[in-house]
């Protein structure tokens, strides 16, 4: 699990490379980054998860009876409309939100009662959708903290995400960095943490088109046989590189399956939604897929 503190880290040492994916996948190239051995053990499981938030005097249901398994060696995309509960699902997995009922299992162990720190040390990592800023804290310190409980020993991660370490290690994580830079550093932090269970929450948000290609390559390229990668995303390119797509709507899993199986249904669903909206508006837009 890599829980022991590694030897002192030399942040400017780029000698070691992140292990690259060696599985070429099938001939179609679809899902090649995540396709691995069948019947792998579940790394992370959410069983019958319900989540409610208390607001004043009423309970607001957020998630209903969520059942999901994430296997080692596979990549998953969670997609769905805004406010459907995608981030809530992974925040329950990370322990940031405490579920109302159900169980969270990691490597078969019930971790429902464990806090965020303990789950992180076991090997669950989460890259925030909106990473917070820290006045005065250099990027270097953040990466060192990320590496404290991992075997990762370099900051090649910054280069991989398109940021020059010489320029960024001493920069502070405050308002002097743009939203896109903060987001890329957040992704680099998760890569430095090197967890078995990797969760990226809308990693593409706020990132420019050029960096987006790099982002896809680094998420795919650092995925390994013993890791499970979950990406919350709306981007077709990301949905195209995973093994399974999970559609969350109204706090429930409304579809789940292979990309080939699910993607056409999501597109059809989007068209249907568009048609409905057009009719509601009383006009047809020129780019309506209908």
């Amino acid at each position: 699990m890599g829980r022991n503190k590694p030897a002192p880290v030399e942040l400017l040492n780029y000698k070691l490379e992140i292990p690259k994916n060696t599985d070429a996948g099938d001939q179609s190239g679809k899902g090649s980054l995540g396709r691995r051995k069948e019947n792998q053990l579940n790394l992370l499981s959410l069983e019958n998860i319900n989540l409610e938030f208390q607001s004043e005097e009423k309970k607001i249901p957020i998630l209903h009876d969520i059942n999901l398994n994430f296997e080692a060696g596979k990549m998953y995309a969670i997609t769905g409309p805004n406010g459907s509960g995608k981030s809530s699902v992974v925040r329950v997995a990370m322990g940031i939100y405490r579920h109302t009922s159900g169980r969270v299992l990691y490597n078969g162990e019930d971790i429902s009662e464990l806090g965020i720190s303990e789950r992180a040390r076991k090997g669950i990592g989460y890259a925030f959708q909106h990473p917070p800023r820290f006045k005065g804290m250099p990027v270097k310190d953040m990466l060192e903290m990320a590496m404290k409980y991992s075997d990762s020993v370099n900051c090649q991660v910054l280069r991989d995400i398109g940021l020059c370490p010489d320029e960024y290690l001493e920069r502070t994580l405050d308002n002097s960095l743009s939203g896109g830079e903060i987001k890329r550093i957040e992704i680099a932090t998760l890569l430095a943490q090197n967890p078995k269970m990797r969760i990226f929450d809308e990693p593409e948000a706020g990132i420019d088109l050029w960096s987006f290609e790099q982002l896809i390559n680094v998420i795919g390229g650092t995925h390994r046989e013993d890791t499970s990668t979950v990406v919350i995303s709306h981007q077709e390119k990301i949905l195209n590189m995973v093994d399974e797509i999970i559609l969350i709507e109204d706090g429930t899993v409304s579809m789940r399956g292979s990309r080939d199986e699910i993607w056409p249904r999501i597109k059809a669903s989007a068209e249907c939604s568009c048609r409905y909206n057009c009719q509601q508006e009383g006009e047809i837009y020129a780019d309506c897929p209908r």
Partner: protein
């Protein structure tokens, strides 16, 4: 002869490990105990009052250490230091005071520094305060720094107090002439029943004079802090005041920045913020495996860095 305790205090306040490099003066329990002048950096004791004169010749480069340590109970030490950095000189000056109060009475150090940064000179000045003690005796530090930055001069002040000082009342006054630049960093952490008051007045006296005052503080437990940074532009100067405080537990923080312009070409900005540690910051660091306490410590340490 320095004792182990003296060395520890010197390490805390001046990062000294052994004899200081360059010129130095070490004051212990109200007396100068070691001193070294160099060619172009003259340190002499005052004849009429406690303290020293530090005179740096034109164009001289080097470092000067003038730390003060107090190791006795019920000691009140007052010192007047006059520092003159000659035109075109480039000096790093480390002051600072460390108190080890072994008893239950009050130990206090009041230090007045009058500093001249002459035309085109550059001064980086660090003053760090530290206190400790086995008993309940108060540790009190009241520094007053009066700074004059002449035309084209540059002064960078770093004033630091992290833990251990029960009461402090800090006064910093500066005048910056045309083309002069001043950058002042103040970092302060109070805890327990401690109190800290910081009064800063910076006057921009001429064209192209600039000042930047950055104050960061953390108030924990029942401690109390007050900040009064004032920036006055008598001429067409530019200045920025930034006061940020993290407030925790039952602490009290008062921050009253003031900007005052007497010239239509002046540009002055102030920002002040007081707030607790954001929950999302703690969550982020805990998601890296840190405990809540470790996360809090890391956030505070970064904030005061």
């Amino acid at each position: 002869m320095l004792t182990a305790l003296d060395k520890k205090l010197l390490e805390e306040v001046a990062d000294l490990h052994g004899e200081p490099p360059g010129a130095f003066n070490i004051r212990k329990d109200g007396k100068g105990i070691e001193r070294r002048s160099l060619e172009g950096i003259e340190i002499t004791p005052k004849k009429d009052q406690p303290g020293i004169d530090v005179v740096v010749a034109e164009g001289k480069e080097g470092t000067v250490h003038i730390p003060v340590i107090l190791t006795e109970n019920e000691l009140s030490d007052l010192v007047y230091n006059h520092i003159d950095i000659g035109s075109g000189a480039n000096i790093t000056l480390v002051a600072g005071c460390g108190i080890h109060n072994p008893g239950s009475g009050k130990s206090q150090h009041d230090g007045v520094h009058e500093i001249y940064v002459r035309k085109g000179a550059r001064l980086v000045y660090t003053e760090k305060h530290f206190g400790e003690g086995e008993d309940s005796g108060e540790r009190v530090l009241n520094p007053k720094t009066v700074l004059y930055v002449e035309e084209g001069g540059y002064a960078e002040l770093e004033l630091v107090q992290i833990r251990g000082v029960d009461k402090t009342s800090r006064v910093t006054e500066a005048e910056v002439k045309a083309g002069g630049r001043l950058v002042m960093y103040e970092r302060l952490l109070t805890h327990g029943e401690q109190s800290a008051n910081s009064d800063v007045v910076v006057k921009l006296m001429g064209e192209e004079s600039t000042a930047r005052i950055i104050s960061r503080s953390v108030a924990q437990d029942n401690s109390r802090q007050s900040f009064y940074p004032r920036l006055l532009a008598h001429g067409p100067g530019r200045g920025h005041v930034e006061c940020d405080s993290i407030i925790m537990d039952h602490a009290t923080v008062r921050s009253v920045p003031e900007i005052w312009a007497e010239n239509a070409e002046a540009e002055l900005v102030h920002e002040a913020a007081i707030g607790k540690i954001a929950g999302e910051q703690l969550t982020k660091l805990m998601a890296l495996g840190l405990t809540e306490e470790e996360a809090e410590e890391a956030i505070i340490s970064g904030f005061l860095k």
